[in-house]
Symmetry: C2
Subunit: 256 residues, 2 copies
């Protein structure tokens, strides 16, 4: 059995529904209902496609181990990396209202994920309305995080965008753990960085080099150590948002 370093992408595979738990305290019945959602578990090797743009939409995927990149393309073929997903994230949501998947899910590391049929999601909304409402809130949270990406792209230069990306990934891999994560492992090519930040490969290289020279972070292979987090925050100027835990508008938990 493999030892998981803190900050390793699979570190917290023990709490698969942590995105829910971050918003509410789950009852036993609710946890059981969530655990019953997946119809199968799937493992993919690095580089494999979990689901392709254009595939019929029938499932979501709960990522339990590893990292996945979601990308989409315009009709002229231009692709952009939309988000790097970490364990606990539910993948495939944006495609839900559409006939064909709007995003490609590609494994950035070896991964483990649980496949969730949309049918089961529909049944969950009926049997556990409170979980449906929380899931709704999670989707809105993703929307806000994307909105922050839009702001980062629209208003900052390359270095600020890179700072924002690194801080965001650091934060999400930490998963609320207050003790500093010493370093994070990112198996991203410069091309992938560029696709995320709207930069060319060449400029990504330049910016990464400069930031290391300025002592903002250090890098050994694929491990990034954020040395100067205040400095990165000064660059990225991220908005501080506080989740509203156990909000009073949720319907009561169903104990069935």
């Amino acid at each position: 059995m493999d030892r998981l370093l803190p900050g390793s992408p699979g570190a917290a595979g023990a709490r698969p529904w942590r995105r829910f738990e971050r918003l509410v305290d789950l009852t036993e019945a609710e946890r059981a209902a969530l655990d019953a959602l997946p119809d199968r578990e799937l493992s993919c090797r690095r580089g494999q496609i979990v689901r392709n743009e254009g595939d019929p939409v029938g499932h979501l995927y709960l990522l339990t181990r590893g990292m996945v990149g979601s990308s989409a393309s315009f009709s002229n073929g231009d692709r952009t990396q939309l988000k790097i997903h970490v364990p606990g994230d539910i993948l495939g949501g944006p495609s839900v209202p559409f006939r064909d998947a709007t995003e490609t899910l590609a494994a950035l590391t070896d991964i483990v994920a649980s496949r969730i049929p949309l049918r089961a999601v529909g049944e969950l909304f009926a049997a556990h309305p409170r979980l449906g409402a929380v899931w709704f809130a999670i989707a809105q949270q993703e929307r806000t995080m994307l909105a922050m990406r839009v702001m980062s792209l629209a208003r900052s230069d390359a270095m600020s965008r890179m700072a924002y990306l690194l801080l965001d990934l650091h934060e999400r891999l930490r998963d609320g753990d207050p003790q500093r994560l010493p370093s994070i492992e990112l198996r991203l090519t410069n091309q992938a960085f560029g696709d995320l930040l709207g930069l060319s490969v060449v400029h990504v290289s330049r910016v990464l080099g400069r930031m290391q020279r300025e002592g903002l972070f250090a890098r050994d292979r694929h491990r990034f150590a954020l040395l100067d987090i205040p400095g990165l925050e000064r660059l990225a100027a991220p908005a501080r948002m506080v989740l509203n835990r156990n909000p009073n508008w949720l319907p009561p938990a169903n104990e069935s």
Copy 2:
């Protein structure tokens, strides 16, 4: 009583829940449940703030008339316009999981909106799980539209971004009406265009000028006529996405 031109922002105020209807055929009971959501109606004059960033989160807003811009800011004060909302849109969603609102809603025209307490939304999820699931799907749709904005910002130049914005607004104001909308009314300053597209006021002016000289659209005051839609589409290269109407994964409608 005021006559509404086609393409006027209030044109389809008659079908306030059209975002739902675009995904499913509503039953009478469901329509009644939706109609019962608002606790009051509010009118704002152009320029007024519907809700400010940082305000406590307690409500959503169904826009029935006029246009609203949602914007957000970084901790350094930089603001970006996130989206232009048209009638039928439900405002304030992204703030749902947070303690304080993450986005400012500002009226771009005189508007009418219905205020929906979150408490009522929670009750709706319990009483009408199918509507909860559809609302979930609508949130995911918004997420995809934001993702397309990210792509537009990351991968295209100023003119393509402007083309994308104009086509998107045209499409959404049309509201699925197959007959061409001759022109759309946009009360946006160049500053607002710039905030939406990540451009400076000066460059917005240049790009708008060039696009008119090239015959892509014509402009009279605040009315934009998209003269060369194929040309705009060639520039913007939007992804074509087809909604999945009445998907089979939804729970059955509740007739109570």
